[in-house]
């Protein structure tokens, strides 16, 4: 290859060498096209992008929506009935317990104040607090044996969301988009949707790219305007004002280009302004739920004040999946499910907020034929203890943290449907049967996306790193439809 070819090629590669931007909109970079691999892969700096990448094997799932119930929903009150607790209600707990809040700790058993009943053909027991979930019992896989083993919110969030309990590693969504790229070039590949009442514990680390290139950071859809930073201006500049601005910039750029005929870099930037504007409108279109029917609005509970907010986010999540977004995570506000006290009044309220929207999402994806290829997840970073916290009367009692056995549910994307997996002991305290550690869950998720955890690696500081980070995560056949 001669100098001129080499330089032309280098320039070509550089144009394609993607900017690793921390911008919320960094995903856009995938626009550039590199058609061939560098000839010197050992020496070229790796170029990162969001172009779709083939998985390691035939995938079952291509997108995921995770509803993260931050704080830790009480499994024995919602998804994992324990008659033994009701029998021992008020008596001394017969085992060892690790408490988080010492001053309010007690060893008295707390039976569940709520009734469970069987739902669907599968007959899964679900609490009366989650009636809509009961309606989709045959579509979900209920895992009752989750385990992270670290009894704090932050650490357990990181274990579930990044594979390890310490801060700083890439989140699940970052790994997925790093491994698979994006199927849309006009929307972010990885979206985080936060609650209007605030961020979950650990704040922005929940959608951090860690040490992966910042291209793979989650883009936040905010609960207020501008909904996506940098993808929308402040409201007073929207609409006609922005059109005028874009036209004027274009006019100035074109007269500047006339002074520099043939300067393709300048032409490309003019085109990029047009592309940027298209992306802005694509995002606005995706967020515009007015396009949905009344029936859909009602399905998600948008007609009721208590379910409207969360339902709206669920509906937007579905619209994003339809448009090719790879990974979406919804968060409840700071410690929304952390029911240390007053569980009798607070837990029903929390359930009321999310139950309808979450169930509607599964129903809606299913009726649109998207459920088979979309994983839906509902769960928190922990569950709760079988004993009373704050023994100060019925109205005030609550439950403390428990990461040794808790429940969550999954639907779609190749997960089994209408099934229960695993079990906790008779008190709902420890997972004892078919335990699913966070790293097993991760291995299984990657498997469904066609990714091999040992091959989805990122080279850093001289080492190859992956999501499991040396933990013995196993694909669990019992979680998979037809065991594959």
């Amino acid at each position: 290859m001669n100098v001129i070819q080499q330089i032309a090629r280098r320039r070509f590669l550089q144009r394609g060498a993607l900017n690793l931007s921390a911008l919320a909109t960094a995903w856009l970079i995938g626009q550039d096209k590199v058609q061939s691999e560098p000839t010197k892969p050992d020496l070229e700096r790796a170029a990162f992008n969001l172009r779709p990448k083939p998985p390691h094997r035939e995938p079952r799932a291509r997108a995921m929506i995770s509803m993260f119930m931050q704080g830790g929903p009480s499994q024995m009150d919602l998804l994992d009935p324990k008659p033994e607790l009701n029998r021992l209600d008020g008596q001394k707990f017969p085992g060892n317990i690790k408490y988080d809040n010492a001053a309010q700790a007690s060893s008295k058993v707390l039976g569940s104040p709520w009734k469970f009943s069987r739902h669907g053909e599968s007959g899964i027991d679900i609490s009366e607090l989650l009636p809509h979930l009961g309606g989709i019992a045959d579509d979900i896989l209920l895992v009752r044996s989750m385990h992270t083993g670290v009894n704090n919110h932050g650490q357990s969030i990181h274990a579930l969301n990044t594979g390890r309990s310490q801060r700083g590693r890439p989140s699940l969504g970052s790994w997925m988009t790093y491994g698979l790229g994006s199927e849309t070039s006009e929307l972010p590949a990885y979206v985080a949707m936060t609650d209007p009442n605030g961020l979950p514990v650990e704040g922005v680390l929940n959608w951090s790219n860690g040490w992966l290139p910042s291209l793979y950071q989650g883009t936040v859809i905010r609960p207020r305007e501008p909904r996506i930073l940098n993808l929308e201006p402040p409201s007073h500049l929207l609409g006609e004002t922005q059109n005028n601005y874009l036209n004027f910039v274009d006019r100035l750029n074109r007269s500047h280009l006339k002074e520099h005929p043939g300067e393709s870099e300048l032409e490309a930037r003019i085109a990029n302004y047009e592309l940027a504007a298209r992306m802005q409108s694509a995002a606005q279109e995706a967020l515009d739920i007015k396009q949905e029917t009344m029936a859909t609005h009602r399905l998600y509970g948008l007609d009721k004040p208590e379910t409207q907010e969360f339902g709206t986010r669920c509906l937007i999540a579905r619209r994003l999946v339809e448009r090719g977004v790879r990974f979406i995570q919804l968060f409840t506000k700071n410690q929304y499910w952390d029911h240390h006290g007053s569980i009798r009044t607070a837990l029903p309220k929390s359930c009321m907020k999310v139950d309808q929207g979450a169930a509607a999402l599964v129903t809606d994806l299913k009726q649109r034929g998207l459920l088979d290829s979309t994983v839906v997840h509902w769960g928190g970073e922990m569950g709760r203890l079988p004993v009373i916290q704050n023994d100060a009367g019925n109205a005030k009692v609550g439950r403390d943290h428990n990461t040794y056995g808790f429940s969550m549910w999954l639907a779609g994307g190749g997960f089994r449907a209408g099934q229960i997996h695993g079990a906790t002991d008779e008190f709902g305290h420890h997972a004892i049967k078919d335990i699913v550690h966070h790293y097993d869950y991760h291995a299984t998720l990657l498997h469904l996306f066609g990714l091999d955890p040992d091959r989805l690696v990122f080279r850093r500081a001289g080492r190859e790193q992956n999501l499991l980070d040396g933990q013995s995560g196993q694909v669990i056949p019992g979680l998979l439809r037809n065991n594959i």
Binding site: Q14, R15, L23, Y245, H260, L266
Partner: protein, 947 residues
């Protein structure tokens, strides 16, 4: 031939296209095998299948499967079979078709060699005659300045070299650039900041023939020069304000001193050879006295260059040996790419695949740094710091720490008090019979507790878990208890009032009881006189909260007791109280004189650890010992003595620094000169700035590179001398406009028949935005301006304020520090500032030899919508209003002058006025149309590019 003379020249330059007749083993075939096959068939004593491909003789002899080639007969050559079928080399990477074809032809022609092959292959034989002839290893010879056909076009010898080449293609320079764009170009190139309208006016109205010369001098003397050019050096040094490597990415509090050293060095035009020597061996150049002079401080600070690589060794939970060796190899990579322009790091695990750098060479260089970065005797980052304390300051700190100790003792006592208080409170809630045994169980040290103790405590977790760390939880519990007592009290109070009233009615004579009841049931204002009289007689009937004590002393006493108990609960704030001690300690410590540190590399005296070659680069597989030295290809393998005779330390780094800066080293000065050139022309004479090896680019103007290099060395390694030459050349002062005649022959402008149009680097863009908006804070030096994550995780400037759960809390501003130049913004590896990263600020992994320039949609989006650009537009508009008042045309003119360094043309001005009218209509009344004009101007290509 005549039609494409330029292409012919290119082909001659590259010498890769060789006709099949001339195929020789050493030159044409061996490099293919070296790249793809030696690793398993030759090197490191590995000869899989008994096959060694390093000599033609051995290839013919073959291995286990018999002869691998049959000279003259490709079709019966096993080797060709294997490579053309894709069976070899193993793995995904196949030999390119062209290489396979080359091998086939070479075999067909009898597999010739260039010369007789040696008896055996030693390390030195890795270097072939062909390698020795490679351009980059040739000594720098000052070439003759070429003659040109039109000498009037030249300003200095640079122009002769450039013009001669252009003329040979029947081309010439472009016209000189206009003064306005030239002013912006030169400001951006020297200072990284746009000129002010006043600067522009002064220059464009100066008719003196020396105006440009004076402008150049004035700009080179500006302190902003060091901030622009220092940044380029920081790229290749891999400057970062954090340690990287692990997730916690610890902040380097003292790295900024190295950054400041670099800025000062550039501003002072420190000779580059000295600059390099200080950075590689400042500790060995400094006086060995224990009291540091200013000069010592500077020299020690300079060694921060060798402390820029990521260093995770202060973090826990890592493989220390791996981390230490990684810091060492990153440091070698920084040194070799920045100064030597070679990818020496590729030889860490095996001989370099393309360049004549053996694995032993790599470990020779490692041995230079081993005494200071000895992985067996490692010092973590804080242990390597050098304190800037004076003896007096050190004593003062000691005194203050003594003061702290007495407060700490008081705190300890108070903690014990609260623990026992809490214990007693908890016990008092329990049945009396339990108290004594629980108290004993709790106060018994945990290792002495009996099984009964343990069982008992388990049943009462709120006793078991009382500890200094959980005291705050019991404060909360006390608040709850106090609220409980409050509720009880108000309930009781009402009850006592009722009881007292009923009793006093009951005690009245029977005949008035009914009347009394009636009277109490009526509002005071509506009572009859008779009723009032009656009540006066029996005042206890009207008992209230305030006079209950008068009528029922016993009840009042009970209420008082409840109040006092609640107050007591409320008053006991153990956590707050203990915190006051902590605060007091912090306050005392405030008086400790601030201790500055230098982030330096030093060697323990007399420390000579052995360096081993690591098999496949694995530190767990050491092989033979290696002595320090330079590269064999430069005949420098013996250049460095293991121990200096005159120094207490080994002196290896100093000797290495001297070897690099001797003026005879063919790479160092060339690499530096080439980098400077690239900053002005957007491309180096060698386009691959950090790789002068075989995979790098060849120089487009080799004689010019050598002339500039020799001129640079001759001038005493003066950077500004070199820059002055470039800036005053006709080459630099050309227009950037493309011309049809040039485009046809040289579309990529390799011949420099015009200036390129260049995009601003990220720092120049951010600094320019701040400059035009009038907000730029020109304060120099000092601690890095901090960065933080905003509410969605974007990295912005600001002090991080988070609660215990990492959620943002409202913080205070930085008092104008936000507006400082980008070079002062913290380079935290895990937190690249969004506005800079979007425009290609590099990630230091471990350094950046060459920045890329991308052109992607996030950039327009950032200009269109980001808080930063919108804020700059608003300030820009305010500034204009302040400077020229309310008249639209004047405002537009000023906006143009500030943004582009020139006044608008008539058409532009009309368009701007029309745009402002449109925006006035579409914006809400309280929003500023002028800001949208400013927003548009800073979003244009004219702002973002240098003409």
């Amino acid at each position: 031939m005549l039609r494409y003379p330029f292409l012919t020249w290119l082909i001659l330059m590259t010498a890769t296209a060789v006709s099949a007749d001339g195929l020789l083993f050493e030159r044409d075939i061996r490099p293919i095998f070296k790249t793809h096959c030696f690793h398993c068939h030759g090197e490191d004593g590995v000869q899989e299948s008994d096959l060694d491909l390093r000599l033609r003789r051995w290839i013919v002899a073959g291995g286990e499967s018999g002869p691998s080639i049959e000279p003259g007969d490709p079709s019966s050559s096993l080797l060709l079979d294997r490579v053309s079928s894709g069976e070899m080399p193993p793995g995904d990477k196949l030999l390119p078709e062209s290489d396979v074809e080359k091998i086939r032809q070479w075999i067909a022609r009898g597999a010739p060699t260039a010369r007789e092959e040696p008896e055996t292959v030693s390390e030195e034989d890795l270097i072939t005659e062909e390698d020795k002839l490679f351009w980059a290893f040739q000594p720098i010879v000052r070439p003759k300045i070429p003659n040109v056909g039109d000498p009037e076009l030249t300003q200095n010898p640079i122009d002769n070299f450039i013009l001669a080449r252009l003329e040979s293609q029947e081309l010439s320079f472009s016209e000189a650039v206009d003064r306005y764009p030239f002013m912006r170009r030169i400001h951006m190139d020297i200072l990284g900041l746009p000129p002010t309208p006043e600067d522009v006016k002064r220059y464009t109205t100066n008719a003196s023939p020396t105006a440009t010369k004076r402008l150049i001098e004035q700009l080179l003397a500006s302190p902003a020069y060091g901030e622009k050019w220092g940044r380029h050096w920081l790229d290749i040094a891999g400057y970062a304000d954090s340690e990287g490597y692990t997730e916690d990415d610890r902040v380097r509090e003292s790295a900024f001193r190295y950054r400041d050293y670099v800025i000062r060095a550039f501003n002072a035009d420190k000779k580059m050879d000295q600059f390099i020597r200080e950075q590689l061996a400042g500790d060995e150049l400094a006086s060995s006295s224990t009291i540091l002079t200013d000069d010592d401080v500077q020299k020690l600070t300079a060694t921060g260059f060798l402390r820029m690589a990521a260093d995770g060794t202060a973090s826990s939970g890592i493989d220390q040996d791996l981390a230490r060796n990684q810091t060492m190899s990153d440091t070698i990579e920084i040194v070799s790419t920045s100064l030597m322009g070679l990818t020496v790091g590729c030889a860490k695990c095996h001989n370099h695949r393309y360049d004549p750098i053996s694995q032993i060479d790599y470990y020779r260089i490692r041995a230079i740094f081993e005494p200071a970065l000895d992985w067996k005797l490692w010092r973590n980052p804080s242990a390597r710091q050098i304190s800037l304390y004076s003896d007096a300051e050190r004593q003062k700190k000691k005194d203050i720490e003594n003061e702290v100790a007495s407060v700490a003792a008081a705190k300890k006592k108070k903690t014990e008090y609260y623990i026992s208080l809490t214990l007693e409170e908890e016990l008092s809630e329990l049945d009396e019979s339990l108290r004594e045994s629980l108290r004993t169980a709790y106060t018994t040290p945990s290792d002495k507790r009996t099984a009964e103790h343990k069982q008992l405590l388990k049943e009462y977790p709120s006793v078991q878990n009382i500890s200094p760390g959980s005291l705050y939880l019991y404060d909360r519990r006390r608040d709850e208890q106090a609220r409980g007592l409050d509720t009880l009290r108000s309930k009781k109070e009402q009850q006592f009032i009722n009881e007292t009233r009923q009793r006093s009615i009951a005690e009245a004579p029977l005949d008035v009881q009914e009347a009394l009841r009636d009277a109490t049931g009526i509002k005071a204002s509506e009572r009859s006189q008779q009723q009032q009289g009656l009540l006066k007689k029996y005042p206890a009937v009207l008992v209230t909260k305030s006079n209950l004590a008068t009528f029922n002393a016993e009840a009042a006493a009970e209420l008082k007791d409840l109040t006092e108990r609640a107050t007591l609960f409320r008053k006991t704030k153990s956590a707050d109280d203990l915190k006051s001690y902590t605060d007091q300690i912090a306050e005392i410590r405030q008086r400790i004189p601030k201790e500055g540190f230098i982030r330096a590399l030093t060697e323990p005296k007399g420390h000579q650890p052995a360096t081993y070659l690591f098999h496949r680069g694995d530190h767990q597989q050491p092989l033979q010992k290696v002595a320090p030295g330079g590269l064999s290809i430069l005949r420098a393998s013996q250049a460095i003595a293991p121990q200096s005779e005159s120094l207490a330390t080994t002196g290896r780094r100093l000797a290495f620094a001297k070897h690099l800066t001797s003026g005879d080293h063919p790479l160092v000065a060339r690499v530096i000169v080439n980098r400077i050139w690239a900053q002005f022309f957007g491309r180096g004479i060698v386009a691959s700035l950090g790789d002068f090896g075989k995979l790098g680019e060849r120089p487009t103007h080799p004689e010019l590179l050598d002339w500039l290099t020799s001129e640079f060395v001759r001038s005493g390694w003066q950077m500004k001398h070199l820059q002055r030459l470039i800036l005053s050349s006709a080459t630099y002062q050309q227009s950037s406009r493309r011309r049809a005649s040039l485009e046809e022959v040289d579309p990529d402008n390799l011949l420099l028949g015009r200036m390129p149009v260049r995009r601003l680097e990220s720092e120049a863009l951010r600094d320019s935005l701040l400059a035009v908006s009038g907000e730029l804070n020109r304060e120099m030096y000092g601690q890095a301006v901090p960065v933080r994550e905003d509410e969605v995780g974007q990295i912005v400037i600001g002090k991080e304020m988070l609660d215990g759960e990492r959620k943002p809390v409202k913080g205070s501003g930085l008092g104008g520090q936000e507006m400082r130049r980008s070079i002062y913004v913290q380079v935290r590896r895990s937190r690249p500032l969004a506005v800079l990263e979007t425009f290609d600020a590099p990630r230091m992994t471990p350094n950046c030899s060459q920045r890329s320039v991308s052109n992607v949609a996030p950039q327009p989006l950032m200009m269109m919508n980001s808080d930063f650009s919108i804020r700059c537009s608003e300030r820009f508009a305010e500034r204009i209003r302040k400077e020229v008042g309310q008249q639209t045309p004047q405002q537009a003119v000023r906006a143009w002058e500030l943004a582009f360094g020139r006044a608008p043309e008539d058409g532009e001005l009309q368009a701007a006025i029309q745009y402002l009218e449109q925006q006035t209509k579409s914006l809400p009344d309280n929003k500023d149309p002028l800001a949208t004009l400013c927003h548009a101007l800073i979003s244009t290509n004219q702002f973002l590019y240098i003409d």
